[in-house]
Symmetry: D2
Subunit: 151 residues, 4 copies
């Protein structure tokens, strides 16, 4: 995924497909997360800070950080999948690099390797405070594509 | 952690310390999760099914599954840490083995290797429906212990 | 995989298939590793200590530890695969829990979840010195089964 | 690590320290691997193809791929560590993206986040054939720095 790709938007049909699937994820709206960018092979999700997403010290909970990272990666893969396929996470690994403190988190999922069956994504999460953007989590994810719009 | 350990409860002081920390995690109460067992080196967390924790197909979201797995592992380590230390997740890896469908999820975190600085836990998540209990996620986590009750 | 399984041996046909594949792995014989047990869903590989497998302090190199763990997991999955399929490692994660020092290492791969496409294994590596057996590495691995005896 | 960093070489003292440690790794010379670049926070290791490093189909064995990836990441971190500290791998995760076939492999370890205790690296492995360079493995690694030149 080069920088050119990053600037592009996905086609309207793909964006619609991603947004509709995202809107069906009860967890994302319950956390207050929203998709802010849908490019081919790259998706951004933003999660504003609020008490409902914290751990014991008031930072973003690793579970919240991971949830948006996982969804960002899943939808990054989904932008490249053929129509009428679904995406499931096979596994992921994430390092929490620094306390996640800020106005909001931004998760960026990027396809590293697209495959017919398995796709591998990079997961990055930034904590944003005013105009400071700090990498707070970094991970790697394996997705599987399944036939049929539902599974 | 042998079976004997699994049956034990942690001391009242440790259970209090874990429960109080858990109660400060805004995310856990927002998701509807609760701790159901606190043993030395092993903690169970239960998450009832409801629309607020789903992904696009109505299953438990991998982010919800991971969030309780991460917390179960973190508190499993915390039961063994000296007083006045805090616990942070360094990283974890989780495989989603099967669609997570059921009345509730039960995450079990178990210490595999306790260390003064780093502790490694096994993470298991079961989907429970009536009296059927199915392993739906399995992972591994690295924790770090930090001085001071807050960090 | 319960204890009963662990005691069993795989069928002669499966053991032959595993051993022949193992014997074609140039790396395993170059390291001096050998398969010591082939049970359904569980395989043991032993690696004797010698200067050719060390890191800078004279311990077993994490790369050697991982190599036998990866092969043990791969063949554990392979024992359950249909004939005329091949196995490839999709990914694995491993924690090095303690310095790997001893007469030999023993890697144990165990299937946690068998699937038609993807199989997930647990990886354990023990350092053995006289009659002391210490867990020095613990991991988790995803395998894919492919049609055709070669790929 | 920006591109500028990538072009730089580490200081002669750091390069000497890395090379001497590498030369003590029995496994690296037994596999035939050598360090080809030592930059601040980034190290390259090359492994030529030969039967001694293969798996059952004649590709590079995942264990060999991982071994050089692990060493490249470990030494990438080591370039940034203070004198008289040692480095150990806490854990790593690696995805095998494609069959590793070619004249040689090139592993590149890059520090993502340096810390006084824990350092996180990205691991990439390329298969090189003539002037074609293909990403065949991608991973993430956690290192710990320890006091004392030996551990």
């Amino acid at each position: 995924m080069d920088d050119e790709t990053q600037r592009e938007q996905a086609s309207p049909a793909v964006r619609k497909r991603v947004q509709e699937s995202f809107d069906r994820q009860g967890l994302m709206s319950h956390l207050g997360a929203r998709i802010t960018r849908i490019a081919p092979g790259r998706v951004h999700i933003v999660l504003p800070s609020r008490p409902e997403v914290t751990q014991q010290n008031g930072f973003f909970h690793a579970g919240a950080t991971s949830a948006i990272a996982d969804s960002a990666g899943g939808y990054a893969g989904f932008t490249l999948f053929p129509e009428n396929t679904d995406v499931l996470t096979v596994e992921y690994k994430i390092n929490l690099l620094a306390p996640a403190v800020g106005d909001h988190l931004e998760a960026v999922g990027t396809v590293l390797k697209y495959g017919r069956t398995l796709t591998v994504c990079q997961l990055e999460v930034f904590a944003v405070q005013d105009d400071r953007r700090k990498l707070v989590a970094h991970g790697q994810q394996t997705l599987i594509s399944l036939n049929g719009p539902e599974q």
